[in-house]
């Protein structure tokens, strides 16, 4: 995770549920590179074709509501989404996304700050998001350090892997 994330914005409405992110019929797909072809098929049909790595999603309230499926943030990560910012998130989506190492930021009023295609600049630790075209910005409560560390490690799998490795090394070093 970089301290400053910049990218081109895609906007989304409120209450985009996990079915609109990855439809139920693709839940048996395991390969993320296959999964990413179907991301936002319902909510934002041109996204899977036109998205570029580093693009930023800006959504309204209650983004990612519905089921606990992890396929939704997985598909976004596979496409290379730089960050997901929303007025608010549903609980399990937020956890799943952070755990997969996807910068996920709750910033009240962010949807109103952007039009599609504008460039966003996010300062993770400062807690500020700026529209580089209009110059307008808003502040948000930065993620707690625990979650920033999780993102820096690249997600929960990597963080736990390091932790287990350290444990094993310590066990080997013990007399």
């Amino acid at each position: 995770m970089q301290e400053v994330i910049e990218g081109r914005v895609w906007t989304l409405p409120h209450d985009v549920d996990t079915d609109q992110i990855i439809s139920g019929k693709y839940l048996t797909i395991i390969d993320p590179n296959e999964l990413k072809k179907h991301v936002f098929e319902i909510a934002l049909p041109e996204f899977a074709q036109e998205a570029r790595p580093g693009d930023i999603l800006v959504a309204d309230e209650n983004f990612g509501c519905g089921s606990s499926r992890e396929h939704a943030p997985q598909a976004m990560r596979a496409i290379g989404v730089g960050a997901v910012v929303a007025d608010s998130f549903a609980r399990i989506f937020f956890r799943n996304a952070i755990n997969l190492g996807l910068p996920t930021i709750e910033a009240r009023g962010v949807r109103a700050l952007f039009e599609k295609g504008e460039i966003a600049r996010i300062e993770m630790r400062k807690g500020r998001i700026t529209n580089l075209r209009t110059g307008r910005s808003i502040e948000f409560p930065p993620l707690p350090s625990h979650l920033l560390e999780l993102l820096e490690a690249g997600g929960l799998v990597e963080k736990v892997r390091r932790e287990l490795e350290a444990q094993k090394a310590a066990a080997r070093a013990a007399p």
Binding site: D19, S68, A90, R91, L100, L156, V160, L164
Partner: protein, 427 residues
Amino acid sequence: MTNSNGHGQTLAEKILARSAGLDRVVPGQIVEGNVDLAMMHEQGAQTVAPFHQMGAEKVWDPDRVVIAIDHWVPASTEGAAVLHRILRKFAAEVNLPHFYDVGRHGICHQILAENGWVVPGDLAVGTDSHTNMLGAMGAVAAGVGPTEMAAVLALGRLWLKVPPTIRIEVNGRLGKGVTAKDLVLRVLGEVKTTGATYKAVEFGGSTVEGLSMPERFTICNMTTEMGAKAGMVAPDSKTYEYLEKIAKHPMHPTQPDRDASYERTIRIDVDDMPPMVACPYSPDNVRPLSDVAREHVTIDQAFLGSCTNARIEDIREGAALMKGHTVAKGVRFIVSPASTPIYEQCLKEGLIEVFTEAGAVFTNSSCSACFGGNMGILAPEEACASSSNRNFPGRMGAKEARIYLMSPAAVVASAIRGEVADPRDLV
């Protein structure tokens, strides 16, 4: 009991503080909680890959892991068969003995409840969003994703943001024909589907104290529909009695402080509350059942099942109403007990016959028609009276199909009448 700064703690705060080895926690604080119980169902199959990627070799405590397959039992599609196989292989590989496989199966939350896997003071997590139901034991029980579950299996702990608590204080006496399901629907009508997002819901008051454990399971189950991280009832003599012979590990009984600080307290008086129904397409679209009954909404299917309402008490109550009646022409009535022991009990009490003689289908225990992926699937024009917990578009099949959520008694009344009906109008 009062804390040093004069602000008491809620039940969720106390349980999370204990799980993290802290004296106290405040909402918003991130803690590392030690997990007392981890549960996986079919979605747990996706836990296996990240578990291996983490380089984990063994599960932190195999005696605190339960696998219960329930969505497609026995496997009804090839995809489901593959998920089951992945789980069986994994359980054998890392030596997980508590696997409720086909033949001992049941809905995962019911398996946890009736076998005493979750006890007062526990922090429990499961790969299903209705894990909240187990909060009725006086525990914090929450749904998590599969990667998170992999970390729990490897380390026995997870990060949690301490949620603020909403207290729901219910007083008064439930009238005749009015059930715990009606009560939780009434609460949903008030809190709405996002009203408790990221929050804990703590039920209390004289009505809740009077509820049996199965009824408490029903109300905690549907805190998921409020967006809540956890829903709970403080433990009391009923909790201890229920768990007396079955608790699988030591309890840490916890009560909220008298001066606990709640984000919000909602007071509900049920003295004059009628039976309720949640109309399409949201569990918070709640109206008095008799109002909807007056509109003569015909149904094509009725479903008495799901983790919300398919315990022996629910099925007994349904059978008592069913006796002497038949299922209306043109209605498919599906009854699915929540677990194999409940199925056996129905058999012993002659309840299965009551339903089959009336023209209902009595199935083995599973999630059954609840989620539209296994059986009892609805066509676009159809409507269903259901004792389950969700009625979003597409939940039981076609996205246009309409689901009316209600108590088991109301489901039976509707099956008899062939339209959404008030059980008090029967007899």
